[in-house]
Symmetry: C2
Subunit: 210 residues, 2 copies
C-alpha cells in the first residue's frame, strides 16, 4: 500500500473514532432514556469495530444483566443474567481489567467450562469494565465470529467507552432541575478551603493575561 | 505541501485530539479533586489549541466564577466573578451557544462596553457552554492574543469538552459507595416497564448470536 493510501486509511479510522466519542459525549447532554443511549452506543461501537456482537451488561445484585445489544433477540434485554464468576464477562467485572482474545476465546482454559453463554460461540473477544468513579458497574463486550487481531485503537476505544457509559449511568440519576440549583463552584472550592493557587492578595481580573 | 506531509499533519492533529478526549475520560474514573481535574483540562485544551489563555467559569448564584486557568494569577481562582450579562462569556452562558471570533474580539459591538475583563485583551475568542444534562452550568474559553482562524476541530473540541466538564461536575457529587450500592439495571429497565425490544417469550441467552 502506498504511503498516501496508508495515511488516508489511518486518518479515516482516527476521524471515525473521534466522531464516535463526540457522539457519545452528545448523548450525555441530550434528554434520551438510558435504554436509547445504551442502544446508540452499542450500535456505534459495533459499527466501528465491525464486530458481530456488541453487548452491555450492568451489575444488579451481584449479577451481570444484559442491558443493550447491537442485535438484540426478543426477550433477552433485561433478562439474560450471568453470575460474577461466569465466563469471560464475569472475569472482566471481577478483575476490572481489559481483556482481548483474538482467537478461540471459547477454548480459553479459564472459561471453557461455561458452554451455554453467547460469548462462547465467537472466536475473538474484547471486553472492558464499565467504570463509574472507579467502581465496576458493568462490562461492555465486542465479539467477532472469526479470528480478529484487535488494534490498539479498538482497545483504547472500548476502555474509553466503558468510562463514558459509567458516567452516563451516574448522570441519568441526577435530576435536571437539581443540576441548575446546585452550587458547582463550592464543589471546586469547598467553603473555608482556599484555592490551591490563591494568594492572600486578590488581584484584579485583568492581571491574568500577563 | 506534499500530500504525504499534509496527511501526516492532519493525522497527528486528529490523534492528539483523540488522546485529549481519552485523557479527559480517564479523569472521570480517577479519584482526583475537581480542582485538579479542571486544571488538567485547561492545560490540555490550552496545549492543543496553542491558546494563550484557557479559562473555566462555573455558575454560582447567577454569576460566573473563574474556577480554572492554564496560567492562573494568584488570588483569581474562585474569586473573579462576572455577571451573566457581562462580556462574551456571559453571552455564551445566556445563549448557550458556541462563539468563535477570530479577530478584534475586544471590538465586538455587543461587548465593547466591558473593558475591564481579561477577555477584552485578546484578538481571538472561542467559547462554549459547559452543559450538564442540557443545563448551562458554566463556560469554557480559549483566547489567542493574536488573530486566529479557528478550525472545525477546535470548535468541536471545545463543544465536547464543555459537555465532558458538565458531566464531571455531576460525577463529583456522587459518592463512590453510593455508586456500588445503586441498582443501575433498574435505571435502564424501570420495574413494571418492559424493555422496548422484549417479547412475551423470554429466550435462552444462546439465541442472540444468530
Amino acid at each position: 500500500m502506498s504511503r498516501v493510501k496508508e495515511l488516508e486509511a489511518r486518518l479515516e479510522s482516527t476521524e471515525t473514532l473521534l466522531r464516535l466519542f463526540q457522539k457519545i459525549s452528545r448523548f450525555m447532554v441530550r434528554d434520551l432514556s438510558l435504554q436509547e443511549v445504551l442502544q446508540g452506543i452499542v450500535s456505534l461501537v459495533g459499527e466501528y469495530t465491525k464486530g458481530d456482537s456488541c453487548l452491555v451488561y450492568l451489575i444488579d445484585n451481584n449479577e451481570l444483566v444484559l442491558c443493550a445489544s447491537n442485535s438484540p433477540s426478543p426477550g433477552t434485554l433485561g433478562k439474560v443474567r450471568l453470575r460474577m464468576n461466569e465466563g469471560l464477562t464475569g472475569w472482566v467485572a471481577r478483575e476490572r481489567r481489559l481483556l482481548a482474545i483474538s482467537r478461540e476465546a471459547y477454548n480459553d482454559p479459564r472459561f471453557k467450562r461455561f458452554s451455554d453463554l453467547p460469548e462462547d460461540n465467537y472466536h475473538a473477544f474484547l471486553s472492558a469494565p464499565i467504570l463509574a468513579r472507579g467502581r465496576v458497574v458493568g462490562v461492555i463486550n465486542v465479539q467477532h465470529r472469526q479470528t480478529h487481531q484487535h488494534t490498539g485503537s479498538e482497545l483504547e476505544l472500548l476502555q474509553t467507552v466503558g468510562e463514558q457509559v459509567g458516567s452516563l449511568l451516574i448522570l441519568a440519576r441526577m435530576d435536571a432541575s437539581a443540576i441548575e440549583a446546585a452550587n458547582h463552584v463550592e464543589l471546586v472550592f469547598p467553603p473555608g478551603k482556599p484555592a490551591a493557587t490563591a494568594s492572600a492578595e486578590p488581584e484584579f481580573a485583568t492581571s491574568f493575561d500577563d
